[in-house]
Structure formats: C-alpha cells, structure tokens
Symmetry: C2
Subunit: 482 residues, 2 copies
C-alpha cells in the first residue's frame, strides 16, 4: 500500500511518552484503526493475524484438555441478568440494550452479551440431568461488549474478541481443579508462546468477577511499569448453578447442584504483547507467535539484481519448506535502509540480507531484531542456525521481560514506599494486607495502585498491612493497571 | 451424556414429514438446541464442529486467492445505513437497534450489523488513496443479525455466523472477475467438500442484494425438492464507493471511484448439508467434512473384551497415525446394536466392527453408511481400503444428490406445468422469462416458487415467457425455497 512506502518516521521514544509510543506503533504497523463507533476498533489484517495465531495456540490447548467449542446467542434477555444479583450489578452500567427491531418495540429488552454465564447457565440446566452428563467442558470464541468510558486499542475497547470457557462439575474439588488447570494453560501460553512472564494468584474479593466464589488471574508488567490482567479463571461455586437450577442426579441417587467455572482471555493480550516487548524502534514479536518470522531482503546494486533476487527466492523456498513463516521484499523502488527500518518497526524477529558478495561466498547476513547482532551464516547451515536463533530470541525476550519486571518490583512496608514504587519508580509493590477492604481502597485512593493479585508464590511474606500496620493475612501485589 | 444412552428412537420418515424429520435429526444428533432468545439457536459441539470444518476449508481457499482476514465493529451507526438508500430499505425491518447503554440513552442509535458493507465502505474510503492500494481483498468471520419472522435452525435464524468478503478494485472488469472467482470458490467448496451439487447463476433484479449491481448465487436442491441459496457473490459496482467516497488517484493522475464486491456464506450451509444427504436413518456426512470419519466398535461376548478391546484401540492408533479422524466406542453397558444405530443416525461415513473371530482371522468388517454394504477387510489392507472407500463415498454422495436434482427438475413452458413441477412433483422448473418483474411476481403468487437464478449454463434455452408467453429474454430456474 502507498503509505508503506513513506519512510518510517521517528517514533516517540517509550521513555518520553509511553502512551504516545504505543498508539504510534500500533498505527504505523497497521495493526488497527479507529472506527466510527465509539470505543470500538477495527482489527486490520496484521493485527487480526496476531489474534488468529493466539486463537490457534489456545484452541489446541483447550481441546487437549478435553474442551469442545460451541456457540451461544449474542443477546441475553433482561430477565436472565436479574437471576444473578451480583452479576447484574457488576455489569449493568456497561450493557448496551436492544430495545427495538425495525420500528417495533421489543417486549423484553435484550442485552448484548458482556459475558455468557447466564445464557450458558440456562442451557446447562437443560443439558445436565445426571452425574453422567458431567463434567461438561465447553468453550466459546465470541465477540462481547462492555461499554467502557475510557478506551485504549486492544487493551480496553467497547467491543472485543475473546474466548470464554464454561464448565460444570459434580464436586467442588473438580471445579477448583478445573479453575486452576485453565490458569495453568493461560500461564503456559503467555510464557512459552508470547514470551510474557506472568504472576499467578488470586484476586481479592473486591476485584473478583461478579458472581464468582474465587477469581484467579495472571498479571503481566508492561514497559511503563503498569499491569495488565492477561487472563482470569473463575470458580463460580454453586452460585450460577443455584440461580439457573443446574441440578443433577448423583450416583447416590440424590439431586445436587453442580459446580461451575468460567475463564477467559481476550484481544487485550495483543496489547500486552506489544507493551511488554516493544522498544523505541517499534514492535518486537516472539518467533512462535510472529506471523512472519523472518524477512529476506536482497541488497546490492541494481545491475546485480538478476543474480541476487532469484537466489533470494530460492532461500525463501528452502526456509518455507522446513516450515518457517518467511517473507521477502524484493521491491526495486524501495531502499534497503527503508526496508530494514520497516521490518524492525513491524517486529519481525530475523532479517536475512543477501547481496552479491554474499552470493559469491555462499553466505547470508542474519540480523536479530532483539539485539541488532549481525551474523554471517553459510547458506548450507542456514536452516539449522535459524532454528537456533529463533529459539534464542524466544527465550531472550522472555528473560528480558522478566528481568525488567524484577527490576521494577519490590517489597514495601509503608505507604510511602508503595507510593514511591508504583508512581515514581513505576512498577509493582509487594505489600502486606490485613484483609480489610478499607485498606485496599485507601491504597488505591492514595497511590492509584490496585491489588493485582495474591500471588501463589510470593518472593517474601509480608507480616503487617501496608496501610493499617495490623497483622497481614495476605501478601498482595499492588500496581497501577491498564 | 445420559441421553445418548437411550436407544435411538424412530425418526419420522422424510417422505412422511420432511420438516419433522429435519428437526428430529438435528436435535437427536445434538447439533443444536433452541435458545431462550427468539429465533436464535445454540450451536452444540457436534454442530459447531461442522461449522469449524467448513471454516477451515473456506478460509484456506480465501487465503489462497489473496484475501486476508480482518475484523470490523458489530455496531453500525444509523447515519451509515442512510448513506445507501436501497440498502437501508432492504434491511430496515430486520434491524435490531441499540438505543441505550446502562441507563443512558444513546445520541445516535446503533444497528447490530446485518452485513458490513457500510462500515467497511467507510474504512476503505480512508485506507484507499492510490491505485497502489488496490485491489484491497479482505474477509471477515463474524456473527450477524437479521430479525426473521419465520425461523428454522441453521437455515434461517435471527443471529447467524458467516464470512463476508469485501473487496475494492480499480476497474469494473477486475470487480466482475473477483465476483465470479469467489462464486467459483464457493462452488468448488460445496461440490468437492460438501458433495452438494449447485446451480450457478445470476439473480434476477428483484432478488439481488440491496445496493448491488449484480448478485450471483449457487442454489442447491434439498430432498424435499426445495431450494437453498448456499452462497452469494455481489458485484456492487460503484454504488457503495459513491456513497462512502472510496476514491483513488489512478495511474493517469485522475481521481476515480473504486469498484467493490462482497460475498458471503453462512451457517445455513449446515442446513443444506443435512437436507441434501440425510435419509430416514438420520444424518449422512461426506467424509471430507465429517469431524469423525469412522467409528471403531469392538463386538462379541463380554469374556472376549480383554482381547478385542485392546486390538480395537490399536486399529484406532494406526488409522489416526495416517491422518484419519477416528472415534471408538468401547463402552460395555451399551449394546453394539445401539451403537450401530447411533452412529448411523449421526452420519459417520464408515463403521469398523472388530469381533473375536475377526481378530483371529486378522480382519475387520467395514460398513458403509451410504449403502449399508459390509466389507471384510484384512487388517493389513485397512488403511488403503479405507482411503478408497472414503473417496467412493465422497463421490457417491455427490452423484446421488445430483441424480436426485435431475430427477426433480424439468423445463416447463406453461404455468400449469410449473405449478405441477414445484408443488406436486416437488422440484425445480426451468422456464422462460420475458424480463418483466410482474411475470416473476405472478409466478410467485400463483405457485409459491421464486426465481432461483438465471443459470450460466441452462440445459435448454426457453423461447417464451412462462407467464405472459411473450418472447423470453432469460431462462430461469424457479423453485420453492427455504
Ligand atoms: Zn489493613
Ligand atoms: Zn412475461
């Protein structure tokens, strides 16, 4: 497209204005565009391809853990919402209501789904009759809508894409195991595929899902020190089963309420991916998720093109044959310098340069996006070296992100230290908490930081509440969050 | 699940009540369930899996023809609809309107998309500036809503799932080529993958898409002689480009309006798949689309299970290793007879029975769902024979469907003959048409048949209009349609 041919303009450095950097990068890389509908974005092909890659990876993990996909209606009758009081209170302000069709007013208003526990609960009550119907393990890929006051592309949009798992079990223990199993699946996906380290833990009661018994989350640190909740898994206990009468005849011939769970991951993980790995030159995509893992760029004087370009295409064919996702930019009217900048900005993990001298020496120059390192590689070793390099980059992006998070995290014992950590030094503070919601609210009020979660494995156990200094019952990660 | 263990009950024969047969089959096979939202269904896992298989097959064909996926907002501002008069008039009665969010009334009403030409047209006008931005070839997988008065699962539901391709081109010729190319893609998918023969042709003006210059369709005949429009491809000319100002600077330095197309295929093809191949025993799935291509069922007396069951699992492993989609039902508390009925009803193309005597003779019994034929196959030849049988079934389902259509189609020259064909004999009538919408309307009024399309290759060319007997300008397929 025409705009791609303009020289990549200076991107605002992250340190100068992180928000501006973010918007510039996702716009220049053509991942998204703003839409005429308030708070809704358009996923352009380069952005949607990232989501498709995430979908593939997650979907195979869901199926491997015994889940099947289904699809439930977009609309939820108003009466369904009212069956779960905590749920309707939590979502009401964000619900778009369909009140008429054509010129006719509807008898009952329909909400556009913000999540599907209610309608799925209703169907489960019909499908589940006996212990033999359990566990019921379904997942739905869908669009959902929550009308947000402040929006940010990918991170918080009024309509977003996600998956929502919904399961029903015969016992409380099985439901809890499922809840944690899916948190494990999310963790493994974030860390192994997206190279994004996450902190696993339980949400405090004030931050849990409306209607849940317990909510667990994985939290990632962006390069401005703020948190993104990348995925949540909820143990719903018997709350929805009770509201929607999900009952079954157990082996002991008694009718019992089922236990349900739900868990979701959305297109906001694209925002996390970008904010965790990006740098002042633009995006950085981990090789396992990158739609294009390497770009081949023929270089050298015009008169050598007839030799270099076909050789470059041969390289592409060889690399594709072993399964790599490879692009080539052999355009004549665009300079190599422009191309180098462009594909660095787009975050492609490796660049492979081939010029006349390389061709003569039967070698190529491989350039790492993450370090800028240039490596001379004999053509016959290319497939093997590329494999190693992609693995190294995948791991090194993870290590870099984890090191950043560790540098920007610290245990704190006072409100002053917490304030200093989350605001001036930007990052996460690990603090004691007495369990009183008033203390949690005071931290938010005074520092802007919210409780991220109560980690499963805190590096230290705090003894006193950071706010009231009474004995701590929990050790909590606090941070400012998107 | 518990209900699966009930013995498969008698299904109403197709000849007795086709509609009843259809509902019974899709319900018993657990493809769908009714939802509490009027006209919206739930896609249960077995139904959704069929759609996922269709998506995979179509998506790879779209990508192979140069298209990329993107995602546009669910909501469309009212003002957008009004930019294309014919379009809003066509869709208005079916549009659900979001008029408020939480307790706040919206300033501008938002329609839930019935299709996305308008919002995509708006984005294209921003993305397309120069001839270098063309062609722009995007596709979207999405849910859409059209509030239908009479609904039928899969075939016509208020919310449905589909893909909608949207392309923009520099010339009228390229747009026309794209329109027909995608009709070809649909045809190939329907005939090769779903084994459903289709009639390709152009819609009459009264049946074209609101806002299109020309609409092309593929039409399939169900086993009750009625038609289903399985896919449509629209040449939108410059209509939407003009309403949404999709302009570009051409090579000759002149600003020009682009030419656009759109094309879509939806979950209604699942209804067509079922109504074309199903028989009195239930579903019949063509091997290429069947989520499970064969079921292995160990048989024989209980005391032999310890030998037979492990051998059956070995067979499954062998067949899966070469890429087949294989299930096994080794439950002890369900009879082989029940299983045979069940998997026939679910339309699985092949059944593989293994009993003690087969085991001793190193053979299995393979049973074809389409013919009921039982074939003794030595285990060492199984992989190869299964490959042949699946190919044979794939083709024979197509041949059976085409033969049925041919038996139920005939050229007609009078209204009486048309009436007889579409009502009593049930099927399609090929008739001459003078081009006057009044004659088309009279046919509909008097026979219930609508013009399906003006086929590219009619078997005969009719000379006179079936209604007014004036000279025919077109030869048209008429049929009663879902
Ligand atoms: Zn406290
Ligand atoms: Zn006529």
């Amino acid at each position: 497209m025409a705009k791609e041919k303009e020289f990549v303009k200076e991107i605002t450095p992250q340190g100068e204005d992180f928000s501006k950097w973010y918007i510039e990068v996702i716009t220049k890389a053509q991942l998204m565009d703003y839409s005429p509908v308030r708070g809704c974005i358009v996923f352009r092909p380069d952005g949607f391809e990232l989501w498709e890659a995430c979908q593939r990876e997650l979907d195979q993990r869901f199926k491997a853990t015994g889940h099947r996909n289904a699809y439930f209606p977009l609309f939820i009758p108003e009466s369904f919402f009212e069956k779960e009081k905590e749920h309707i209170e939590g979502f009401n302000p964000e619900l778009p209501w369909v009140t008429q069709v054509g010129d006719d007013k509807l008898e009952e208003r329909l909400a556009v789904r913000p999540t599907s526990e209610t309608i799925i609960g209703h169907m489960y009550s019909q499908w589940i009759q006996s212990y033999r119907d359990l566990p019921l393990l379904l997942n739905q890929w869908a669009n959902v809508v929550r009308w947000e006051k402040r929006t940010l592309p990918f991170i918080r949009t009024s309509e977003f894409l996600w998956q929502e798992g919904h399961t029903a079990h015969a016992t409380a223990q099985e439901a809890q195991e499922e809840t944690l199993r899916m948190l494990d699946v999310y963790t493994e996906f974030m860390e192994e595929v997206l190279s994004v380290p996450v902190i696993r833990g339980q949400k405090t009661p004030s931050e849990k899902f409306p209607g849940a018994v317990a909510t667990y989350s994985i939290e990632a640190m962006m390069r401005d020190g703020k948190a993104i909740q990348a995925g949540t898994s909820h143990n719903l206990g018997q709350n929805f089963a009770s509201s929607f009468k999900i009952e079954f005849l157990d082996k002991d011939n008694e009718r019992k309420l089922a236990y349900t769970t739900s868990w979701g991951m959305s297109t906001r993980i694209l925002g996390a991916l970008i904010m965790v790995h990006g740098d002042d030159r633009g995006l950085q995509l981990p090789p396992r998720i990158a739609p294009t893992q390497m770009m081949v760029i023929p270089i050298g004087p015009a008169k050598m093109r007839e030799h270099v370009v076909p050789a470059a295409h041969e390289l592409v064919a060889t690399l594709r044959q072993v399964g790599y996702r490879v692009g080539i930019d052999d355009r004549e009217d665009v300079s190599p310098g422009w191309k180098f900048n462009e594909y660095e900005m787009r975050g492609i993990p490796l660049r492979i340069e081939l010029g006349p001298r390389d061709l003569a020496a039967d070698q190529v120059v491989v350039v790492r996006r993450d370090t800028g390192e240039k490596i001379l590689v004999p053509v016959q070793e290319l497939v093997e070296r590329v494999r190693e390099l992609l693995d190294v980059i995948q791991r090194s992006l993870f290590d870099r992100a984890r090191a950043f998070r560790e540098e920007h995290s610290s245990p704190v014992e006072t409100m002053e230290a917490l304030q200093e950590r989350v605001r001036e030094a930007r990052g996460f503070a690990l603090a004691g908490w007495c369990g009183d919601e008033a203390c949690e609210a005071a931290v938010k009020e005074q520092t802007g930081a919210t409780s991220r979660n109560i980690p499963f494995d805190p590096p230290v156990h705090q003894k006193t509440c950071v706010h009231c200094q009474k004995p701590a019952t929990h050790t909590v990660w606090f941070g400012r969050a998107y």
